[in-house]
Every structure is written in structure tokens, then in C-alpha cells.
């Protein structure tokens, strides 16, 4: 019995020492690594790729405060060290992305980890040549956070990362997170995660999109005054062209559209909102409309989506027909003309007017993606797949190629449900007889 016990306990001890062989011996102390927050990819000059990595410093002051607002992010704590707003931005030229990052270990003195990367930035001209070479290793490499956002920026990615500092909080990582969260509050850009991006890349149902971004040099504000400014409700702007000053120089504005792994075009901000409505990701946004009954005045609506969009696809004579039904809800939050839109008959008129606007916008956006790029970023292919009996049939048909042949019917249903805190528009009382709202 003692022999057996000895044997058994020996076996147990041997098994115990097998435990470390099972993996999990890659223990690293938390401060032996630095956590890259942003990774930028540019075209190289002497080698194929130029990688920019932004990571926080571990100096006093918490989560990357450092320079703060006073230095206005203009290079910050010194052009040479690349220190901006409590983070370090360093760039390297290398033959591949991951090699470049590991070369940057030398400049940071610690191991750079991609566990906490918030965004992956591609320069636009690079993206137009194809991104799969740089996306694939990231999808395969285990130390990459798949929930980082994919951004395509106009100009250089390095510049974009340098200029995208957050001035509200002391925390760069949080600033980035909150920045992407504005997609839900405005609808001006889609919120694209890396894992979605990669799965769309290889999907036979549709094409991938990315956040379109740019750097605003604050030169868009006209300095000369006009006598009477005109009302422009549907101004289409590219990223970097918003007439504004102050704050972060980076802007997420619009959607980059891909065909395969190559960027082929982009949607502007309003088209992006229509695109988000069509795929059911539009949460909330403010729209300004010019009042046709009182030119020069505007009414402002807060639009939310009330139901998920319904998509139906059928084939008629071999051609796909797409029926898209979108339900929106609106709240009247401003009425400059002071026409009583709260009354039922006026309300119906108003709804019809808005419905037409959204119908044209959404249909126009879909047709634009068909006509100009033949890129099904709406993933209609996923519904269309139900019409095929086998995968082979679907693959043979090649939905992505036939997307442009599809006939699109859009049905928009808008309900104005609330009128804010005021349930009735009352005339303004004044001595002047031409005061608005007078009957």
C-alpha cells in the first residue's frame, strides 16, 4: 500500500508540475508594458510602411494629462520627444506593421501592447491602394483588441494622431472613447469596430465601411462679415472643412466606403445619417429644415428611429428588388416661423414634407452607392441570401457584383410625436404689426 501511495503521490506531483506547461506563464507586470492607444499607418518613404503609435506616459498627473489646453496641442511638450497631452507619439518606418511596433519598443523602453488600442488609422491614399496587408496580421495576432475603431483619414495618419488630442478631460483614452461615442449622438459618422471591419472584408453579403476623418486647420471660418447671412440647411462638408475654431483639430465626419479592401469613395455627413438610418444604427440627431411657408425661417427637429428598418428582397425577372421600410420619430424643438404646426392638419403636412425629404435622401444615398461604387455597404446581400437555395447558388450569382442592378423602393414613415415643452405656438406680442405669428 505504501508503494502504491508513493507512486500515486509521485504521479500527482508530476501532474502538478505539468500545469505550468499548459500556457499561462506569460506573466508580465502591469508597468512593464505600455498600452498603445492609437496606431496609424502611412505610406513609407524608404520602406514600405510608416507606423505611428500613441501611448500614455506614466508620469504624475493621471491618465495622460501632461500638456493640457495651454499648449493647444501644437506639438505639445516638445517636437523631438513627440510628447503630446500626456502621451507619446512616435513613428517608425519598417517592412511590416507588427515589426514596426516591436521596433518602437526601443523608443518606449517598454513592451508596446495592443491590448488597449482604441483606434487604427489609415491614411486615405494608402487605403485606396488596399488595406488587407495590414489588417490581416492584426486579425490574426492574439494581442490585439478587436474592438478598436477603424478610421480612414485625409492626409497623413501621423498628423491626424498628433492633432487628435482631447482638451476636455485629462484622460486621452477616455477622450477617444467619448469621441467615437458621438456617432450615436449625431449620426455624422458610423461607429466601425475592427472585428466588424474584418468580417465585412471577407463577407459575400456586403462591403465594409470605416470612419472617415480629417484634420481641421481652423481656416474655414470666413472673417469678412456679410450683411444678411443666408440660411443653408443642407451643407455638405468633407472632414476637416467644418467652419469652426478651438477644441481638437481632428474630426470624424462621414463614411469611407470600400470595395473589397480598397477604399473607393466616401459619404458626406448627411448621407452618412441616411446610411445609418437604413441599416438601423441611427440613434438620435438634430435636423434643420427650411420652412417653405416662410422662407428664411427654419424649423428644427430631433429625429430618433422608432423601429428597426424592415428590408425585404425579392427577385423579379432575375433582378433583385429591395423594399426598405424605415420608421422615424420626430420632436419639434424649434419653430422659427411660428406657424402652428401643432394642429393636426398642419402636422400631417409637416410629416409628409419630412417623409419626402428622408425618402429622397435615403433613396439617393443607396442609388449613389450603386451607381458610383457598386458597393453594398447596407448589407442587403444578407437578406438576399435567403432567396438562394444553396451557398453555391449564392456564390455563383455573386451578389456584390449584381448589387448595382437592384431596384430600390424606400418607404419612410415619420411621426411627429412631441413638440417639446410647448404644446402650442403662441404669437409674439409686440407693438410692431408685422410680428410673426399674427393672424
Amino acid at each position: 500500500m505504501t508503494k502504491a501511495y508513493r507512486f500515486l503521490s509521485g504521479l500527482l506531483i508530476a501532474l502538478f508540475f505539468c500545469l505550468p506547461l499548459n500556457g499561462c506563464y506569460d506573466s508580465i507586470e502591469i508597468d512593464e508594458e505600455v498600452y498603445a492607444l492609437a496606431v496609424g499607418i502611412d505610406k513609407g518613404v524608404s520602406n514600405i510602411i510608416r507606423v505611428t503609435v500613441q501611448y500614455p506616459t506614466y508620469k504624475d498627473g493621471g491618465g495622460g494629462s501632461g500638456g493640457g489646453g495651454s499648449e493647444s496641442g501644437s506639438g505639445g511638450g516638445g517636437e523631438e520627444s513627440g510628447e503630446v497631452n500626456g502621451t507619446v507619439i512616435s513613428t517608425v518606418e519598417a517592412s511590416s506593421l507588427l515589426e514596426g511596433i516591436s521596433m518602437l519598443n526601443l523608443s518606449s523602453n517598454r513592451q508596446i501592447s495592443l491590448y488597449h488600442t482604441k483606434m487604427l488609422v489609415f491614411a486615405e491614399d494608402y487605403a485606396r491602394e488596399g488595406v488587407v496587408r495590414y489588417v490581416e496580421p492584426l486579425a490574426r495576432y492574439r494581442e490585439v483588441r478587436e474592438s478598436m475603431r477603424v478610421v480612414i483619414c485625409k492626409g497623413s495618419a501621423e498628423e491626424f494622431i498628433k492633432k487628435s488630442s482631447d482638451f476636455v478631460g485629462a484622460n486621452t483614452a477616455k477622450g477617444m472613447e467619448m469621441g467615437f461615442y458621438q456617432s450615436q449622438n449625431t449620426g455624422y459618422f458610423p461607429d466601425v469596430f475592427f472585428h466588424n471591419f474584418y468580417s465585412s472584408l471577407i463577407s459575400p453579403y456586403g462591403q465594409c465601411t470605416a470612419i472617415y476623418a480629417g484634420v481641421n486647420e481652423f481656416k474655414q471660418l470666413d472673417s469678412q462679415e456679410k450683411e444678411k447671412p443666408e440660411l443653408h440647411t443642407d451643407v455638405d462638408l468633407e472632414p476637416g472643412q467644418i467652419p469652426r475654431k478651438g477644441g481638437s483639430k481632428s474630426e470624424f465626419f462621414g463614411t469611407a466606403i470600400f470595395d473589397g479592401d480598397k477604399m473607393v469613395g466616401y459619404l458626406l455627413q448627411n448621407e452618412t445619417r441616411f446610411y445609418l438610418m437604413a441599416i438601423g444604427k441611427f440613434k438620435w440627431g438634430i435636423f434643420t429644415f427650411e420652412d417653405k411657408r416662410s422662407p428664411g425661417d427654419a424649423y428644427i427637429l430631433e429625429i430618433t428611429s422608432s423601429k428597426r428598418p424592415e428590408t425585404k428582397i425579392r427577385f423579379e425577372e432575375g433582378l433583385p428588388v429591395i423594399d426598405l421600410k424605415i420608421s422615424l420619430e420626430a420632436e419639434l424643438i424649434s419653430n422659427q416661423s411660428r406657424i402652428e404646426y401643432e394642429t393636426l392638419d398642419k402636422l400631417t403636412e409637416l410629416e409628409i414634407e419630412i417623409e419626402k425629404y428622408f425618402h429622397d435622401g435615403i433613396k439617393g444615398t443607396i442609388e449613389k452607392t450603386q451607381r458610383e461604387w457598386n458597393s453594398d455597404i447596407f448589407f442587403f446581400g444578407k437578406k438576399a441570401a435567403a432567396q438562394f437555395r444553396t451557398i453555391q447558388d449564392l456564390e455563383e450569382y455573386n451578389w456584390l457584383k449584381h448589387y448595382q442592378d437592384a431596384e430600390v423602393h424606400v418607404d419612410v414613415d415619420v411621426k411627429v410625436r412631441r413638440s417639446g415643452f410647448l404644446y402650442k405656438t403662441m404669437p409674439i406680442q409686440s407693438t410692431s404689426p408685422d410680428q410673426k405669428g399674427r393672424k
Binding site: G23, C24, I28, E29, I30, D31, Y35, L37, G63, H116
Partner: protein
């Protein structure tokens, strides 16, 4: 030949197989609770305590082989003494009896024993003997000596039988026993009683005269409650039993007495409700207690260690409480309580983990409050055991799981700390334990204050001296707090040790290691038994659902006693215990004791709405 060859070939395989197949071990008999009406073997073991002197010699020798060598030593003097049978019988002449007592109590040296000799009614010699300090002297003076001296010759006339009668009538104490055996005589003296002998008798008369100083009943120290009784046990066994008896006024409440400890001769009592407790459990409790052979027993913690099922388990399998109300509530569930003279604690057996995690206050609170408190307590259990281990695993293996902002903050704070996280954790944990241990030893009010201030100052200083990172202070403090939320002192101790086990697991193998360690821990728990009851009863093995496990349902829903105890009467209250919810509820005067069958028959369900409701919800 072929067969034998085959046998030879098979034998190594069989050998290996035999290593992993189940075999009965030669460990001492373990106790498994039989279902009701199953066999009742081993009953005669209970005889042990009644006649230990007869079997003593054989037993120690036969056991000596299995047990340690120390037991094989030559017999101790007391055993030799007890071996001589004739010595124990009381003689009928006063001188030899007097000599016996003097000799046994070493009278010239031992100043405690007082022997008072006298002559009764001018011609009969007699004496009383008692231990000074253990007796109430007024009782001896007023109720033993005075009546004896007031005797006249005629009162003591006649043969020995009538003398007894007379003596019993003369002595005015409330309990008088006739003892013919010296062993019992000595025991009575040692308890604080007075023995009386009159020449010519072949027995002693033991008169109750116990009276010594003791602590009065105070509030419980470790099991304080806001709502509920504020009485705690004291050191006196009789008082403690009376405290229980005051709560359960039932003739079936029985207390059996055992003497344990060759030198200390401590009295232990097993208290139970005869019409509830499963006889097998009672038999097992008796068997374990009566078979303890030791020389000294002073605290109930020592007794616990002698009777618990798994001495190597880190988690206690008995429940020790200093509250009479808690003891009573367990007795009414059908359990046994073991009380000990000199220990202000009752040991309740059998218990399950679930019951140990309950607090005495739970039953007094509304069920919603009690449930939320219990949920917090179970969380506290998990936190106290796992938090430092989890922190280590997270920061050294799974950094992707920490929110970025927190991660950067931790890294920043750790920037100037030269130690790896493991060293930090162990330093802080040891520091915390140190403060706690020192806090108990430091006298008076300073102790408590020092505990808090020490922890604050030490933590603060350690952070500013860059010895540990500030997040760790939070972790250690949260762990310490959680540990205090565990309602049982022994269990809290076990969890404190468990924490280090999980720290090691988390530090070397991350979550994988934690998962492994947790599996091992749960296996151990599942394997535990408390007096034959699986320790994780209700969960594993699954029994009938309890209305008083983690969620404590309203008290009127708790109709049955725990299933796993197999009590003689499993019902606590009738299905409808709140009879006022019925329209035709019986008048209070006429209701009497007829609750058990009454209500359900008297008011068929559905006849009124309230009945139906309560039935539904209680199901």
C-alpha cells in the same frame, strides 16, 4: 500454465488499475446518516461512558497499535488505581473511609479539601468533606450541619436502613444522593457538593452545596445583533442549559451529561429535542463524545477538534455559537447542541455551509432585508477569498480585461514601486493580519483604535514610501472588510487562509490557475461531511428545496424542516399558519392546540380568496 501466464501478464495492468480504482481504506469508521428506519448498529458503543473502568485496559492496548506510540506507555497511576476494583467500594467503618478520602485528595498537602469531623447524638462519629471555595458555606452551616447537631439519640436509633431514611430527612439540601462508589463520591466533591458520612453506613450521602463565583449573563461578544435577544452564554453549564430551556419550554428537551478529561473531568452536555432529532445523529454524537480519551479539556474549541469529521479541512464543520436563541433555533430544526462547563459556547451539529453563513439576526428581519443581507454575505465570502488572487491574475495575465483608464492609472501608480505585484500583495496582506492580531492583544480601548488607525497609517505610509501601489490598499481593505462580514469566526479564519491559496494560484497561472484552484476547493467542500450530513446539502446532493437557504422566504412559508436532517417530524407548521387570513378562522379561545389538522379542512381552498392566494404563493 496458460492461465497462470495470463495472470502474470495481467498483473501489472491490474496493479495500475488498482491504483485508480476505489478501495475501502482502513481508516476509522466514518459515520453516514442512514435514512429513517435503516439499521441502528453500533448502539452498544454508548455504553462506553458508563463503564469505562472495566474496558479501559484492553481498549487502550488494542487502540494503541493503530494510534500513536505515546499511548503504548505504561498505564498511568490513575488507571492503575481505577483498575483495583475493591478500593472503589465504600467500607462501613469511618476510619478507612476517612483515610481513603485523605489519601486520594492528598490531604496534608492539599489545603482545598476541608474535612469536618463530629460526633452525632453523643455516640455516632461522622464527617463531612467538601472543597473550599466551590461550596456555598451558608448551605453547609444552615442546612447540613445545624440539623445534624440538633439530633437526639432517638432519631438515629435502629438499623442502617432507617438511619438513611432519617439522614435523608434530616439534611435540608434540595438534592441528596446515596453513593456506594468512591469514584462517584470524589466526583461529587470535585463538583462542589458536600459528602456526609456517618459511622456504620456503607454509603456516602452527597448533598448539593455548589456555590462559587461566576460571570453573569452578558451580551454576546462576537455575534451581536440589532434586533433580537441580547443574552449570551456564560461559563456555567447549568445556567447555559437553563437559558436554552427558557426559550424552548418543552418536556422533550433533553440534556445528557458526559464527563470528559481524565484530569479536568469536565462536564459536557448534549442537548436535543427528543421528538425531533434523528436517533442516528444523536447516537453518533454520543458515540463520539463518550469515546474521547484525553486528560484536559477547557474550551469548546478543543472539544470541537475532538469530534469534528474532517480535521484537515480548512472550513469548519461544526457551528459554534454564544447565543442561546441561535442554539435553540437549531435545536428546533432537529439538531444537537453540545455545551461544556466553563465554555460560553454551544457547538451545534450537524451543520451545512449554508447554515454557517446565516446570521442569528436573519430570522428577526423582514425576509426582503434578510435575503439582501445574505446575498451580500455570500459576495463577501467570494471577495474575501478571491479578490487579491483575482487582482493578481488580472494585472499579470489578463490586462486586456481592465478598463483602459484604470489600467493606466494602476500602471502610473505602480511606476515607482520596485516590487512585483505578488510581493506587494503578500506584504499588505501580512501587514493587515499583523494589525488584526496585534489589535486583539493590545489591552482595552487602545486595541480597537490601533486596529483602524494602524491600518490607515500603515497603508498611507506604505503608499507614500512607494512600497505598494494605492489600488492595492483598496483591494486589501475590501478583502479585510469582506472577511469581517462572514458571520462565523472559524469560517472567517478559514477564508483568510484560503485567500493565500488563491493568491498563489492566481499569481502563477492566472484565471486558469484560479479556476483550477476553485475546482479543487469545491471538490473538497463536496467531500466534507458534518456528522454524516453532506456539507453542501441542498446544492450537492440536491434535496428538497429549502425556503431558508440563500433566499429567506417569509416565515409563514417555511413549513418544513431541512430535508437532509431526516428529522422525526419534518413539519414546522401547517400549510396555513396565518389563520387570520381566513374568513372563518377559529376563535382564539376555541382554537386550542388543534392547529395541525384544523385550517385546511375547515376552510376548503377556493372558498375564499385569501386561502387560495396563500396556498399558491406558498407552493
Amino acid at each position: 500454465m496458460l492461465v497462470s501466464e495470463k495472470k502474470k501478464q495481467q498483473s501489472p495492468i491490474l496493479k495500475i488499475l488498482s491504483l485508480i480504482t476505489y478501495k475501502k481504506t482502513s481508516r476509522p469508521r466514518s459515520f453516514v446518516l442512514p435514512e429513517q428506519n435503516e439499521g441502528q448498529e453500533g448502539g452498544d458503543n454508548s455504553q462506553n461512558y458508563q463503564a469505562p473502568e472495566g474496558r479501559g485496559n484492553e481498549e487502550t492496548q488494542s487502540e494503541g497499535k493503530k494510534r500513536t506510540k505515546t499511548l503504548r506507555k505504561p498505564l498511568s497511576p490513575s488507571q492503575v488505581k481505577s483498575g483495583r476494583r475493591d478500593v472503589n467500594e465504600v467500607k462501613n467503618d469511618i476510619d478507612s473511609n476517612l483515610e481513603m478520602i485523605r489519601q486520594q485528595f492528598n490531604v496534608p498537602q492539599n489545603k482545598d479539601l476541608v474535612i469536618r469531623e463530629f460526633i452525632l447524638a453523643r455516640d455516632k462519629r461522622g464527617f463531612i468533606a467538601y472543597l473550599d471555595g466551590m461550596v456555598d458555606k451558608t448551605v453547609i452551616n444552615e442546612h447540613i450541619l445545624r440539623p445534624l447537631f440538633d439530633l437526639s439519640t432517638s432519631d438515629l436509633a435502629g438499623d442502617s436502613n432507617s438511619t438513611t431514611l432519617a439522614l435523608e430527612n434530616i439534611v435540608e439540601t434540595n438534592d441528596v444522593k446515596k453513593l456506594k462508589n468512591f469514584k462517584k463520591v470524589f466526583a461529587e466533591i470535585l463538583k462542589g457538593n458536600t459528602v456526609l458520612y456517618v459511622d456504620g453506613l456503607d454509603y456516602f450521602l452527597a448533598c448539593e452545596s455548589i456555590g462559587f463565583e461566576m460571570r453573569s449573563i452578558e451580551t454576546p461578544k462576537t455575534e451581536g445583533v440589532v434586533k433580537g435577544s441580547q443574552e449570551g452564554f456564560s461559563e456555567n453549564l447549568r445556567t447555559n442549559i437553563s437559558l436554552i430551556r427558557r426559550i424552548i419550554k418543552n418536556k422533550d428537551l433533553i440534556s445528557e451529561f458526559f464527563e470528559i478529561g481524565e484530569k479536568s473531568s469536565t462536564t459536557c452536555a448534549v442537548v436535543y429535542l427528543q421528538d425531533l432529532i434523528n436517533p442516528s445523529i444523536l447516537e453518533e454524537v454520543r458515540r463520539r463524545i463518550s469515546s474521547i480519551k484525553t486528560d484536559f479539556l477547557v474550551s469548546s474549541g478543543m472539544l470541537e477538534q475532538f469530534i469534528e469529521d474532517s480535521p484537515y479541512s480548512i472550513i469548519p464543520t461544526t457551528l459554534s455559537t454564544e447565543r442561546p436563541d441561535r442554539t435553540a433555533s437549531h435545536l428546533v430544526e432537529g439538531k444537537a447542541a453540545i455545551l461544556m462547563d466553563g465554555a460560553p459556547f454551544a457547538i451545534v451539529v450537524p451543520v451545512t455551509l449554508n447554515e454557517i453563513m446565516h446570521s442569528p439576526e436573519d430570522a428577526a428581519l423582514k425576509w426582503q432585508y434578510a435575503t439582501s443581507l445574505r446575498v451580500i454575505r455570500f459576495f463577501a465570502f467570494a471577495f474575501a477569498a478571491l479578490l487579491p488572487g483575482l487582482y493578481l491574475a488580472l494585472t499579470t495575465f489578463h490586462r486586456e480585461m481592465i478598463p483602459t483608464d484604470l489600467l493606466i492609472a494602476i500602471a502610473e501608480a505602480k511606476e515607482n514601486v520596485p516590487f512585483p505585484t505578488l510581493v506587494e500583495v503578500i506584504l499588505m496582506e501580512l501587514g493587515f493580519e499583523l494589525i488584526r492580531e496585534a489589535g486583539i492583544r493590545i489591552p482595552g480601548i487602545i486595541g480597537n483604535t490601533l486596529g483602524i488607525i494602524g491600518a490607515l497609517i500603515l497603508g498611507e505610509a506604505a503608499v507614500s514610501a512607494n512600497i505598494v501601489s494605492p489600488v492595492l490598499i483598496v483591494i486589501v481593505a475590501a478583502t479585510g472588510l469582506s472577511n469581517f462580514a462572514i458571520p462565523n469566526y472559524s469560517l472567517a479564519f478559514g477564508v483568510r487562509l484560503l485567500r493565500f491559496y488563491f493568491i498563489i494560484a492566481g499569481c502563477f497561472l492566472g484565471f486558469y490557475g484560479l479556476a483550477l484552484a476553485l475546482v479543487v476547493f469545491v471538490l473538497m467542500l463536496v467531500n466534507l461531511k458534518s456528522f454524516g450530513i453532506p456539507y453542501l446539502s441542498i446544492v450537492a446532493p440536491r434535496n428538497k428545496k429549502s425556503k431558508d437557504a440563500v433566499v429567506r422566504w417569509p416565515i409563514w412559508m417555511q413549513e418544513e424542516r431541512p430535508d437532509y436532517l431526516n428529522t422525526l417530524d419534518s413539519r414546522r407548521q401547517p400549510e396555513i399558519s396565518r389563520q387570520w387570513t381566513q374568513e372563518d378562522a377559529p376563535e382564539p379561545s376555541g382554537a386550542g392546540r388543534n392547529k395541525d389538522q384544523g385550517p385546511a379542512q375547515q376552510a376548503p381552498a377556493g372558498r375564499n380568496q385569501n386561502t387560495g392566494k396563500e396556498k399558491e404563493s406558498s407552493d
